[in-house]
Amino acid sequence: MIGVTSLEGRMAERELTFAEAIREALAEEMRRDPRVFIIGEDVAEAGTPFKVLSGLVEEFGKERVVDSPISEPGFTGLGVGAAMTGLRPVVDLMFGDFLTLAMDQIANQAAKIHYMSGGKMKAPIVIRTTLGATRRSAAQHSQSLQAWVSHVPGLKVALPSTPYDAKGLLKSAIRDENPVVFMEDKMMYKLKGPVPEEEYTIPFGVADVKRPGGDITLVATSSMVQVALGAADKLQEIGISAEVVDPRTTAPLDKQSLIDSARKTSRAIVIDEGYERYGVTAEFASVIAEGAFYYLDAPVRRMGARDVPVPFSPALEDVTVPTEETVFQMAKALCGRS
């Protein structure tokens, strides 16, 4: 059921994994534009610990696939300066948790340079990083910090949920004139999905209805889209038709699609793997509450990561994130079914 509407019936085409789609987007953009280069820790021969970049250094050389020291602020800052002076850096921040290290360069430098200079300068940089728990990586390698970057004006934030979206959104990110934080779910790298051979890009700020439905809206991002789709299957079995809406980018946010879907179904659950408090779900919920209030039959419900540092033990970690089952139960209750 992946990307049904986006693909418009091209389901018969080839399949790629999420990682392959990312790699293909990078390779195509690097072939198209000599200004594009990659910098980060172990991005060259190692191809990152996730092997997402394997093969790129062989094609583009070490000048364009640059292994950096373990210095997130340093190489992110270097990327900002390179972007301001005519290059198109794709900075690789291995784990989303490392955003904290590079935050000054992202939030105070890259995000603000265009505005602070009265529009004369720009920083077209892509910061690729990861999100997602349940990899048994504990508290410093499992966070989903998209709310942090979505909060800062000047940044764009993409959260692809399928190989198709990953490729199209990444190509748009690289071509964008602004700093883009591009967050990939680590657990999704091996997920397969259709990706057409021909060139395409996906615009930012355009939500995708991943599954149409009439009884309840499930707004979900990144890792949570698959969870929502799984829950929707279960709901179907008990006669509840769930619509799954994937905003695909949190900044810009396609508010209207969220509102339209909630108005149609009269019920909404918003799901994101970031911490629930002050999170992406809070923003989504307020958008729907403000835009669809008179159409709602129930309060908008939020489902995010539990507000605890991500624990190590599988027995503990698994209860920190929304699952098909918890989303199913919440949706069922919201629809007045016990």
Binding site: A82, I113, Y115, M116, G118
Partner: protein, 334 residues
């Protein structure tokens, strides 16, 4: 590797360079008078917010920027007016920015601490201490990758030596032989704290640890700054790698314009000593007169001309309109 050149003397004047040195003198006067006027605007409550004055440090900005080409890059600091002017910014648009006017370099969106002028190679002043080290190093990386012979200069105060990113990017600059010069303006004070209380070991040793050529010079002698910068810049331009230049200097005013009671961290005698015996304008002017390259009347004439320019520039800024409030949402995204 360090050359302790604090006492080194610059090369003798060459008669044919008179015009050049008069220009250098004028640039320094321009910065000095700009800052005096900025202070006045603050005291008269004509300027929103506050500002950090560069008076006393003029020889560093001018000496270094005179060694650069228009296409070369600089990054600057919260105490950045001097760098912006030395790299080619115009007085009127600088004042307009300080007053938050539409005609300012950043259309009133940046203010004193964020003046940027890509047309003159100024990638922006930066209000995060050490925050531009990455940008300057990235500009050098970019110049190298694009195959130009541009050089980037990162100006920062000795207070930035406490910031980790400075060392991260120096490491990369050395590894990759990037054409970047780290100009550490040691004005003795990290805000309100003497640098010796905050800086262990030798400053140049920090750069040397990365295999970067490091030198310390008297930052009040503009000829020395210029000669040294020229040598380091051309070396970088030839692809021979980064350099670190510590310039010993002094800020005449406080950390910012509101910092007027300074006795708890430095003495009036110390301030007077620098103003009278180590003033960069006096050092150059007196040397030129002494060696009969010019006379005092010419220098006074320059001063008068600059003062008139400043008056006109300030008037332009005062008369300029504020931005339309509707512009607040513009330029968030390119």
């Amino acid at each position: 590797m360090t050359r302790k050149a604090e006492k080194a003397a610059p090369a003798p004047f060459e008669a044919q360079d008179v015009e050049h040195w008069l220009h250098v003198y004028e640039q320094m006067v321009k910065i000095r008078e700009f800052e005096e006027k900025a202070n006045e605007l603050y005291l008269k409550a004509l300027m929103p917010g506050l500002t950090h004055l560069y008076a006393g440090q003029e020889a560093v900005a001018v000496g270094v920027c005179e060694a650069l080409r228009p296409a070369d890059y600089i990054t600057s600091t919260h105490r950045g007016h001097g760098h912006c002017l030395a790299k080619g910014a115009s007085l009127d648009r600088m004042f307009a920015e300080l007053l938050g006017k539409e005609a300012g370099y950043c259309r009133g969106k940046g203010g004193s601490m964020h003046i940027a002028d890509p047309a003159s190679g100024n990638l922006g002043a930066n209000a995060i201490v050490g925050g531009s080290a990455g940008i300057a190093t990235g500009a050098a990386f970019s110049a190298k990758m694009r195959g130009t012979d541009q050089v980037a200069v990162c100006f920062f105060g000795e207070g930035a030596l406490g910031q980790g990113i400075v060392y991260e990017v120096m490491n990369m600059a050395s590894l990759w032989k990037l054409p970047v010069i780290y100009v550490c303006e040691n004005n003795q004070y990290n805000e309100y704290t003497h640098f010796r209380e905050a800086t262990a070991g030798e400053i140049t040793a920090r750069a040397e640890a990365f295999g970067i050529l490091a030198e310390t010079i008297d930052g009040q002698d503009v000829r020395l700054v210029y000669e040294t910068a020229q040598r380091l810049v051309e070396r970088a331009r030839r692809g021979e790698g980064p350099a670190f230049l510590e310039c010993l200097t002094y800020r005449y005013y406080g950390h910012h314009v509101g910092d007027i009671s300074r006795a708890y961290y430095r003495s009036k005698e110390e301030e007077q000593e620098w103003r009278t015996r180590r003033d960069p304008l006096k050092i150059l002017g007196e040397k030129m007169v002494e060696q009969k390259l010019t006379d005092q009347a010419v220098l006074d004439g320059i001063h008068q001309d600059v003062l008139s320019e400043i008056e006109a520039a300030v008037q332009f800024a005062i008369d300029a309109p504020f931005p339309d409030p509707a512009e607040v949402d513009e330029d968030v995204y390119a």
